[in-house]
Amino acid sequence: MIKIEKLSKFYGKKQVLNSIDLEFKKGKIYGIVGENGAGKTTLFRCISGLENYKGNITSDYTKLKDHLGLLLTEPFFFSKITGKEYIQLLANARQIELTNIEDKNIFDLPLKQYASTYSTGMKKKLALTAILLQENNVFILDEPFNGVDIQSNLIITEIIKRFKKLEKTVIISSHIFSTLAETCDEIYLMKNGEIVKKVEQADFNKLENEMKEFTVGNRIDKLELK
């Protein structure tokens, strides 16, 4: 379990997270939704320990980060590292002995090619493969479906469902509501650095409609499309 209490984060004078209280349990899938700049990525970076913060983040683990697979929105790649070496690098970092990496290449990536030459979707799939092979217990997936083709989308959705059975904790942010609705147990709505709503599975449709109404509203009418 991960418990977040009164989490706040400032960049200079600007407050990006405001006294957040959350609890993520084992074997549950959590979704975080919100507009760009709502604070989702900062929240993930704080949980991972990549940012300093005010408040408390506790977990069942002595060092949460050592059991955490973090998928960044835009994964970073070295200029002359192949896909296979990227996977190897992340496995080495966790002292995991990997054999037959090619057999575990579920997204059929060109592993012998430099990862920096991959497309956005391929980079995402490679980064995801690497953290999946790290044998983590907790996963934070920041926009895992971004730029990914429909076939891979299905695979990622199935992986997330499998994680639930394996009693892993998964936290996902996504702008594609349908994928969250299909996988999550709970969805939190973030706005201006605060959690403004917690929605359980039964109310996902209601949340989607509310978000549509709030986000779209009569904005498009302003364009006076003809």
Binding site: Y86, Q88, L90, Y114
Partner: protein
């Protein structure tokens, strides 16, 4: 701020002086300087021939304006070299050089090779994997120099070839990796530094082993000098790793750069700098490795 934390204004003021100094040095040292200079200028200008960049320009400008712009930017890019060639009274060369940079404008090519170069270091990425691929041509040159040093009986040349490998490996640690790659390690700060240092020294030893063995056999009476210089390479490689992480997540700053330069002039000072950089690294890494 630019590299080493140098203020931008000072950096840009110093740049022309450094350029003139290095150019002067080149022309003083070799009679083939104009050829080397021409190649340098062309490789510098060729950076503007990247297909992605020029496709973008083509999408904005019409054919005539695109060509005009590309000729102009190539000539401007080449201008420091042209001016120095004129200063050196190499008028014909400066005309040929400008003719070449105009011709280059007609071609779009990538200066980055995307062919995967095989490396013996792929089991433990990334410094030596990336570094080897960027500098693979240095190693045959170093081994060739060792061969020449033995065939002409010049020990110093052999030592230079070993130092060349040392300097090349040293350069692999000049750039800071993204914090994500450090964060991923489930090691303590001490273990992390030890792991990095161990990998570096083993791989450096592997690369310089052919040279060491050759020199040790062929210049056995100077083996003591060889051992001292080899150990010095170890010390400098350790220093650069510790210095790198002592400024984590930023790149090595001006003051650390100065300390490293001082250590090159007076190697015994490494006995102070290595522990200093080590303790600073531990402090910096503790924050990301949650130690």
């Amino acid at each position: 701020m630019i590299g080493f934390g140098l203020p931008l204004l000072i950096g840009y003021t110093l740049l022309p002086f450094v350029f003139v100094l290095l150019s002067n040095y080149l022309f003083e040292k070799t009679e083939f300087a104009n050829y080397v200079y021409g190649l340098l200028a062309l490789s510098f200008v060729s950076k503007l021939s990247e297909p992605k960049r020029n496709d973008f320009l083509k999408s904005i400008f019409n054919k005539y304006n695109y060509k005009k712009l590309r000729i102009l930017e190539n000539i401007i890019y080449c201008l420091p070299f042209t001016l120095f060639l004129i200063y050196q009274k190499q008028f014909v060369f400066s005309v040929i050089l400008n003719f070449c940079v105009i011709i280059i404008m007609l071609f779009n090519f990538s200066t980055n090779l995307n062919v995967t170069i095989p490396t013996p270091f792929s089991k433990k990425p990334f410094e030596f994997t990336v570094g080897f691929r960027k500098t693979f041509y240095v190693f045959p040159i170093a081994y060739l120099l060792t061969y020449i040093s033995v065939s002409v009986g010049n020990f110093n040349l052999g030592v230079f070839s070993m130092l060349l490998i040392g300097i090349t490996c040293f350069s692999y640690y000049s750039k800071m990796e993204n914090e994500y790659f450090v964060w991923n390690y489930n090691l303590s700060s001490k273990e992390f530094l030890l792991e990095k240092t161990k990998t570096c020294l083993i791989y450096f030893s592997l690369l310089s082993l052919p040279i060491i063995i050759t020199l040790a056999v062929c210049f056995f009476n100077q083996i003591d000098i060889l051992i001292v210089l080899f150990l010095l390479c170890y010390a400098y490689l350790t220093t650069i790793i510790f210095a790198k992480y002592s400024s984590f997540p930023n790149i090595i700053n001006m003051s650390q750069g100065i300390l490293i330069v001082i250590s090159f002039m007076f190697p015994p000072i490494l006995l102070i700098f290595i522990p200093l950089f080590y303790s600073q690294s531990i402090t910096k890494l503790n924050s990301i490795l949650n130690d």
